[in-house]
Symmetry: C2
Subunit: 562 residues, 2 copies
Amino acid sequence: MTTQGTPPMVDFRTSPARYRHWRLAVDGPVATLTMDVDEQGGLVPGYELKLNSYDLGVDIELYDAVQRLRFEHPGVAAVVITSGKDKVFCAGANIRMLAASSHPWKVNFCKFTNETRNGIEDATEHSGQAYIAALNGAASGGGYELALACGHIMLIDDRSSAVSLPELPLLGVLPGTGGLTRVTDKRHVRRDLADYFATRPEGVGGTRAVQWKLVDEAVPRAHFQDRVSERAVAAARASPRLSGGGPGVELTPLAKTRTDTAVAYTYVGAALDRSRGVAEITVLAPQTIPAVPAVNDLHALGDRFWTLAMTRELDDLILDLRTNEPEIGSWLLRARGDAGRVLAHDDLLLAHRGTDWLANEIVLYLKRTLKRLDVTSRSLIALIEPGSCFAGSLLELALAADRSYMLSGARQDAGPDAGPAAVTVGGMNTGPLPMGNGLTRLQTRFLGDPAALEAAEKRAGEPLHAAGAEQLGLVTFAPDDIDWAEEVRIAVEERASFSPDALTGLEANCRFAGPETTETKIFGRLTAWQNWIFARPNAAGPGGALRAYGTGKRADFDRKRV
Amino acid sequence: MTTQGTPPMVDFRTSPARYRHWRLAVDGPVATLTMDVDEQGGLVPGYELKLNSYDLGVDIELYDAVQRLRFEHPGVAAVVITSGKDKVFCAGANIRMLAASSHPWKVNFCKFTNETRNGIEDATEHSGQAYIAALNGAASGGGYELALACGHIMLIDDRSSAVSLPELPLLGVLPGTGGLTRVTDKRHVRRDLADYFATRPEGVGGTRAVQWKLVDEAVPRAHFQDRVSERAVAAARASPRLSGGGPGVELTPLAKTRTDTAVAYTYVGAALDRSRGVAEITVLAPQTIPAVPAVNDLHALGDRFWTLAMTRELDDLILDLRTNEPEIGSWLLRARGDAGRVLAHDDLLLAHRGTDWLANEIVLYLKRTLKRLDVTSRSLIALIEPGSCFAGSLLELALAADRSYMLSGARQDAGPDAGPAAVTVGGMNTGPLPMGNGLTRLQTRFLGDPAALEAAEKRAGEPLHAAGAEQLGLVTFAPDDIDWAEEVRIAVEERASFSPDALTGLEANCRFAGPETTETKIFGRLTAWQNWIFARPNAAGPGGALRAYGTGKRADFDRKRV
């Protein structure tokens, strides 16, 4: 993980029994997530995780806990995030880790932490799990940014505890885990106060933190625990969580085979071709058709239900490749199997998501995983061939791609019963899986062209062959079998020849046509500025602020404003 | 302008008689701006401006022309932008210039070109000057981006002319002058087609360019001139331009004194303190009160009317300091004089801007100049002292600032008739001067707090002293005379000690709380990504694509995706 060294292969799979940094306790409708970071438990050697500071390993556990709370604890309607340390909530991302990390590692780490915090907000908004940040001590930098993801922030009022964003004055970087955006756009802290706050390393506490809207309440130490409990119980009571406390669905360990050239799960697999810089990703359709309506089957199958199983696998694959395979710059996306089964699974979930907590959670998880794809800095190319099943939920993969190629007609060497490729618009494409910009991928695709959107949506349920799909604008190109191999090869080789940085910028702009939200501002505006700052000598250079921190030396800044 | 060398002092003042690269011709309601770049006319030595490529000097002339069309040619209702070269419209920003430029120079250059293109859209939308891009040959990169700023794009259809964004494949950078944003968000080119288009150096021409919405029409060479004329006449006829063709207002040469330590105009001045990294900017109120209503006076005074004169000076000062003084990182903003006179000028303009073209233009110009301040990468600190006149239009300076300090009470050593400082909300603060995000600076300030906004707007016309202004949230801090000097000194010194890059990022985020528009996306998302790419070795490093271009060598990319 140092700039020179080879990073370790990171595994995102964990479970509460293996946590080193968090404790998850459930008491009826209220869960408590206690951050108690093991100083010696850094993901890689070279730094100590003092003062509840975190690295990727700590955040992987948080992500796991937030996911399990949704699936394994349907009865939980409020979650308290607090610290197991005395007088400190969390000091944010570990600075020595950041200083020693390569640029790609830092950026990928920030992206994942951002996604987890967005997931907390998603649980609050859509799953009826209210998050309360119980800041029983100082919350600095990423520590305060974690609190900002919670719907209610309580700060202990003891004349020493404060919230702060000291990144700029101490480290010469931004509070890049959503901090700047959430302070102004979510909490509506006045922009000049936000400016002052973000330049003040000691932060703001007590009444002033409440007045400035940085926290919701400041509570004296003597009453803190009681008040937190009261708030949590009240939040749980007010929650619209669907479940009446029925049994949860266990997220059993993912079966995964990982070699240097392949990643394999049950429904998802990837072949890694390092020489071409390509991952060939294939998603398989379900092997069976569920009876409809059969919500009981859904609960009986639990995490073996195709949509949930496939989504977990895809999620893990995205995280794995993003973190462990930075040189694999293009992902080719294929879907194989029976489109009817995909649509049947979609329909079952859509029919019940308004009333059944599990159906709701599965759709939300699929939504979040597709959003992860949207912000992945890899070129995404969908290949739609005979035998594929880009329908409904899986069509979203093609719609998320930067480009799609659909084979027109049958393969020349195919047998007589091999039909041509088809794509099918389904209910999953017209609402339940919005992007970060608040629009569906179809709406984003047909931005400013409502007639084209309507024409595509009207054909829902109908398998569309290449000519029709191209004419409706659902695919980018539709070469026939004579041109297919050559055209795809050129596209993939060309992509590999371009500047990886410029591609990242291109994709980050084209994918987010249309409106901006807090979420897209975090990934677009804020992240892009942070990445720029990270790449500048004033932060990461030998005399930069990140390197100078803690050495007693002042950073040596190039004072030119850019 | 080379990375090593000292850039020349750039002067933004010019006039048509001095243009080397553009010709401005007016024929009744239709003006034609012909780009005919002098290859040997680069702003600095070291490159030739071949194929109508441009540098800052070329764009300074374009900016001047667009401004003069609005003020000096009120009868012009349609503007055709075309090229004086055969078979080439414009090849975009000059690549050798970019490759040789320092990072700050590139970023500042792109910012100015973006502002000029936004100004073209502003003229179209608010001044009834419709812009038509008549692409009589290839429009590449920045050449096509210039066309994208026009409301109607006509491409000659001769089987060789195309529009293209070749930055990514050829140079490893983005089409950063609004290209990527305007293609998807303004012209609604489908995102996958935009992706393909931006990777195809040869571009797209003819019918396909029309089908993909890249241009509005492709016209055979034989009919091109006639069709352009027809379109221009029709656009002029349809235009809601206010003036019936009355005489324009000449923008006479700005009187300016520039030394190493001071910039002085009539109403605006700046003292430059290099050791502290500070520009102390003072704006003076008008010396007289206009009779109200006196729209004739306005026309008689022309560019001597205070608001117009002050705005021109401020505009020039911003451009001068941004370009020539990158190490002066903090601008202290003061306003001095009679607030009543400021408000009287504001009221005159506001009373007539719906019916009088000149009043309208002056308000729009002030709006654009304040927007320029909003995207300026310098810390802006407003100092509101006794004798100041932060009222109405000048209050916008304080609202644009990252922070404001207002002296509470009188100076201890002041005479008996020296009153305390006051700020006054006026009509200019409640609508006519929106920021790029579409909100007024007051709305942005009180984002999500409509009660606070209403409370402040309700006090319009009333001089508010420090306690009241602070309580209403109109100023950040209100120290009294005992604390004033120390508090301001610390704020300024602190600011100078922080990472200039991190400050740029902080300010770019805090200033644009709230909604995003095409304009803020260009300056936020797109520019931030472009700056990041510019700073990466894959673009600007010794083996990067910008340096490799034209050498016959391939760029040597670090293939890690970030």
